[in-house]
Structures are given as structure tokens and as C-alpha cells.
């Protein structure tokens, strides 16, 4: 895999405040990197530096081999960048704005019009091309921003919260677009919506306080939770007590937690000792003891919990 983006010890201070504190990471062609972190973690500042908007206080970033400190214009020409909130010139029409972007990107005449038509079709902007941007809905405005970022078919895309504030259908559209382009580009997407990471990203980086705290695929991150292999059994209230004592008796079970579930049922959450896989043992016990289980499933701990654990240090659901 070719490395397209190389962030090297990138730092940024605003006065005494260190917004980004030595971030290093690489993104290769074909990768969609989810850039996660709480608000104020330094995501936007990092992306702005890579996109050549802010000058780094230390370190640098290379995009397709070009250094953003030495050759910002070169980096900008290799990049498609969607700023947070996709600001665009409100008084211009959609086609006027996209034509302006195309001209700045060096396309003229027929080529310019062809590029604009291509992105207008690709993002479904056909109905609004002649409308001024300030009367468009949020979804359309975001699509104008995306259209602007992919107009020159850049090898690297940086999208700052591309689905923020969109309705579920629009989110789905944006994600399919990202997935569609993923194969031939390197894409960085910042978000704090974790389902998005599972939906579109091949890899996730969690940052907080300007530092990288975790880097890996969604499932790698999930294993960082202490209770990531828990099994849940849902069963009627009446049978709960007996079943719980059966499960506790098993050698590899660490603890059983009881929580109320729907329809008068009870959920038993069974955590293993160490990293043992409990599924087979639990389902055998259910069959042997004739426990009237309604559901038995592996509790895939959510990325939200991983996120909370990593960024605040709080162990999730410890009291559950």
C-alpha cells in the first residue's frame, strides 16, 4: 500500500494552550481513517494544518510526498478538503461557486464545465444548480461542500465532520459516497459519531488532549475493554435466580450481573475470567439445565464505551 498522508510529530500551540501535541500517523491508499475524539481534542486543528490552513508550531505533514510547511500550495492541489460546517460563499449560486472552485483548481472552458457537471450529477445537485447557496437546506449545503472537495478528483480527501447535522438518509448518502471513493483514495474523516467508524472506516485513531491515544481497526479497539467478551442471556424473571446460580458455578465465569429487560424478562450479563470465550459453555449450560432462555448473545461492547474508556479513563458499565 502506498502511503499518501504522513503526519510527523505535528504540533500546534495557541498561546499557552497546546491544541495538538506531537501527533504522528500515516494513511495509505485504500484506507478510510476515522479521526475520533471528544470536542476540543485537536481533530479540526490537526486537519487544518494538514490542509495548509494553519501553520504548524512544530513537526510537519506530507501529502503525496509534498511537505505542507515547505510547499503548502502543492499540498493543497493534491487535497480535497471539506472544512467543518462546509462554509461556502452564500451569495453565489451552486454552479457559480463550483465553477469558481474549478477555475482556481486550474480548469478552463469545456473542461471546467465538464468537471462541474460531473460532481453535480454525482452528488445529486441537479435541482439546485441555479439557486443561491444561502437558501439551500443543510443537506444540500453539505453536498455542495463535498462536490467542491472532489471536483479535481484528488488522491487524498480530508473531510471534517462530513455527516454532522444531517438526517439519517443524508448520512447514508454521504457514507456511500465515501465508501465508493475509498478504493482509489486515502481518506481521513473526522467524527464523533462512532457508528460512522464502523460504517465507513477501515481504521480509527482516537485522539484526546492533542495526542493519539489509540490506533487500530474497530474490533481491535473493542478488545481494549475489560468486559469485551461478555455473554448475555435474556430469560423470564421467574427462572432468573436459578439460572444465575448455575452460571456462577461454571469455572470460567467471573461474575453475573442482573438487569431488568423488556416484557418482564431479565437480562443476565455473564463476564468471563480473563479472555476466555464463554459462548459454547453458556449455551451448553442453557441446554443441559433446561433454562428457558429467550435470547443468548455475545455482548459486542460498543465503540462508545471504548471511546469513553480511552478518552476519560472511566471504566464503562463497571457498576452494571
Amino acid at each position: 500500500m502506498t502511503v499518501m498522508v504522513e503526519i510527523d510529530q505535528l504540533s500546534k500551540s495557541f498561546g499557552d494552550f497546546r491544541a495538538v501535541d506531537g501527533i504522528s500517523l500515516t494513511v495509505s491508499k485504500g484506507e478510510v481513517l476515522g479521526f475520533l475524539g471528544p470536542n476540543g481534542a485537536g481533530k479540526t486543528t490537526t486537519m487544518r494544518m494538514v490542509a495548509g490552513f494553519l501553520t504548524p508550531s512544530g513537526g510537519t505533514a506530507r501529502v503525496c510526498g509534498r511537505d505542507v510547511v515547505q510547499d503548502p500550495t502543492g499540498v493543497k492541489s493534491m487535497l480535497g478538503y471539506l472544512p467543518e460546517g462546509s462554509p461556502s460563499y452564500d451569495d453565489m449560486t451552486v454552479s457559480g461557486f463550483l465553477k469558481f472552485i474549478a477555475e482556481i483548481r486550474g480548469y478552463d472552458g469545456a473542461e471546467r464545465n465538464a468537471r462541474v457537471e460531473n460532481v453535480v450529477a454525482r452528488l445529486g445537485l441537479g435541482d439546485v444548480v441555479d439557486r443561491p447557496i444561502d437558501i439551500l437546506s443543510k443537506g444540500y449545503r453539505r453536498r455542495v461542500g463535498l462536490a467542491q472537495s472532489i471536483l479535481h478528483d484528488p488522491p487524498v480527501l480530508i473531510l471534517d465532520e462530513p455527516t454532522d447535522g444531517l438526517d439519517p438518509n443524508q448520512k447514508h448518502q454521504v457514507r456511500s459516497l465515501i465508501a465508493e471513493m475509498a478504493a482509489e483514495k486515502a481518506i481521513i474523516v473526522s467524527t464523533h459519531i462512532l457508528e460512522e467508524v464502523e460504517a465507513v472506516c477501515t481504521r480509527a485513531v482516537i485522539i484526546s488532549g492533542g495526542r493519539v491515544l489509540a490506533d487500530g481497526t474497530a474490533s481491535q479497539l473493542r478488545t481494549r475493554l475489560p468486559e469485551s467478551h461478555a455473554i448475555c442471556v435474556v430469560l423470564p424473571q421467574a427462572a432468573a435466580g436459578a439460572a444465575a446460580s448455575h452460571f456462577k458455578a461454571l469455572a470460567s465465569v467471573a461474575a453475573v450481573f442482573e438487569t431488568p429487560a423488556e416484557n418482564g424478562n431479565v437480562k443476565l450479563r455473564i463476564t468471563p475470567k480473563g479472555e476466555t470465550a464463554l459462548a459454547a459453555e453458556i449455551s451448553a449450560a442453557v441446554r443441559q439445565e433446561g433454562i428457558p432462555a429467550v435470547e443468548v448473545y455475545q455482548d459486542r461492547s460498543s465503540l462508545d464505551d471504548v471511546f469513553r474508556l480511552i478518552t476519560t479513563g472511566a471504566a464503562p458499565r463497571a457498576a452494571a
Binding site: 490542509a51 494553519l54 493543497k76 492541489s77 487535497l79 467543518e84 462554509p87
Partner: protein, 244 residues
């Protein structure tokens, strides 16, 4: 150069996207005429000359030019489009020059619409058209110098009103600095060289020469180096404050 022109085209179109541009032009044309007729006693002079028409231009520019310049960067920062603009493959210098060029052309259009005054004096008498051409050029250059101040002030803030007030204040100082009212305040204590330096910054004195038909290279050098200075300051201001 091409990128500067693309940005200038967009900016110029942005001026005319709202009726404000037309209101501005109407005010400029109306006021230059009114000043010439009422304050300058255009008819009572009994002269076929536009000197009384041009002599009020710097005063009008003090208020009108900062109004043209105030939105150039303040609005970009307020709406966040500065991030869009400066992540396109353009340099800050190209962006500043493009915006400056657009604003200057806009002032040029407003100035060009006062040509009926020129026609009027030609109908009424036989003025020195060479002096009038020189005065138009001079007026255009003075507008450019004020604009370079205005664009720098606009780059310092995200608030257009603040940009306007700062711009008008600095332009006012440059206009006033040749008047005895200002110079007398310094004459009592400052060395003569200082007083002369302050006087030499006056737009009024230099522009007055042009409206009388005096072509002095040093006046052009003065105005163009002033523009270069303020534009350079504007580029620095955009670069250092864009993320704030």
C-alpha cells in the same frame, strides 16, 4: 496572476450580488456632484474646471472607501469561508491582491460614472481636459491607497463595523496630516523634520497638486509605496490571524 484575476472576478461579482453596491455607487455619484455644486460653488466660480469637483474626493473616500473594503476579510472570517478560500491552491498574497483588485475596480466603476460632470464642463466651456484626465487618475490612485488601508483593517477583525471604523480613522489621519490644524499641534515641540514628515504623508496636499495639473513622480511613488506597505501588512495580518 491568473489566480489573482479569478479571485478578483468572484469578489467583484459579490459586490453586485446585493443592492448595496448600487446604493453605494448612487451615493458616491450623488455626493461628488452635490459637493461640487453646493460646497464648491461650481457655477459661481465661472470657470470651466472640475477642480472643485475633485477637491472633495479625498473627504468622501475617507468614509466611502473603508465601507467598500470592510467586508473583504472580516466577512470571510465571520462566515468561515476563509478556510475554504485558503485551502484552495492559492497563496495569501494572491488572495489579498485579488480582493484588492476587485475593490479597486469597483471604485473605478463608481468614479467612471461621474463622467457626466466632465461632459457638462465641456458643454459649458472649454476646460483643460489634460488636467481632468490627470485628476481622474489621481483620484483613482487615492482611492486605491485608502483601499489598501481598509483591506488591512478588515484583515484584523471579524467584525465589519470595527473594520470600517478602524479604516475610516486611519484614512482620516492620512487625509488630515497636511492641514495646519494638525501640524500646529506638533510645531510647538517637535523638530521641523518631524513636522515635515507628518506633512508629507498628507493625501490632500499631494492630490491637490494633481488636480491642478502638476505631475510629480514623487507623488505617484508615495501613493504606490503606501499601497505596497499596507497590502504587505494585510498579507501578514491574514496569515497570522486566520485561525484566530
Amino acid at each position: 496572476m491568473r489566480k489573482i484575476w479569478i479571485i478578483a472576478k468572484r469578489e467583484l461579482a459579490a459586490y453586485f450580488a446585493t443592492p448595496v453596491a448600487f446604493v453605494f455607487i448612487a451615493i458616491f455619484v450623488g455626493l461628488t456632484g452635490a459637493f461640487a455644486f453646493y460646497i464648491g460653488d461650481f457655477f459661481d466660480q465661472n470657470q470651466a474646471s472640475l477642480q472643485n469637483f475633485f477637491s472633495h474626493h479625498p473627504w468622501l473616500y475617507v468614509l466611502l472607501v473603508p465601507a467598500v473594503a470592510m467586508r473583504l476579510w472580516a466577512e470571510e472570517r465571520k462566515s468561515g469561508t476563509i478556510e475554504q478560500l485558503l485551502t484552495l491552491p492559492v497563496t495569501t498574497t494572491q488572495a489579498v491582491l485579488g480582493k484588492f483588485l476587485a475593490a479597486w475596480l469597483f471604485c473605478g466603476i463608481a468614479l467612471a460614472l461621474t463622467v457626466p460632470m466632465w461632459i457638462t464642463v465641456n458643454v459649458l466651456g472649454s476646460p483643460d481636459n489634460g488636467v481632468i484626465v490627470l485628476s481622474y487618475i489621481g483620484s483613482f490612485i487615492v482611492a486605491g491607497a485608502f483601499l489598501s488601508i481598509g483591506i488591512c483593517m478588515s484583515a484584523l477583525t471579524r467584525n465589519q463595523i470595527v473594520a470600517f471604523i478602524l479604516g475610516a480613522a486611519v484614512c482620516f489621519l492620512f487625509t488630515m496630516s497636511g492641514l495646519d490644524m494638525v501640524l500646529n499641534a506638533f510645531r510647538g515641540w517637535a523638530p521641523e523634520a518631524v513636522v515635515d514628515t507628518i506633512a508629507s504623508f498628507s493625501f490632500l496636499t499631494r492630490f491637490d497638486g494633481m488636480t491642478r495639473g502638476v505631475v510629480a513622480a514623487r507623488d505617484f511613488v508615495f501613493f504606490f509605496s503606501l499601497m505596497a506597505f499596507w497590502l504587505f501588512a494585510a498579507i501578514l495580518a491574514v496569515d497570522t490571524r486566520k485561525g484566530a
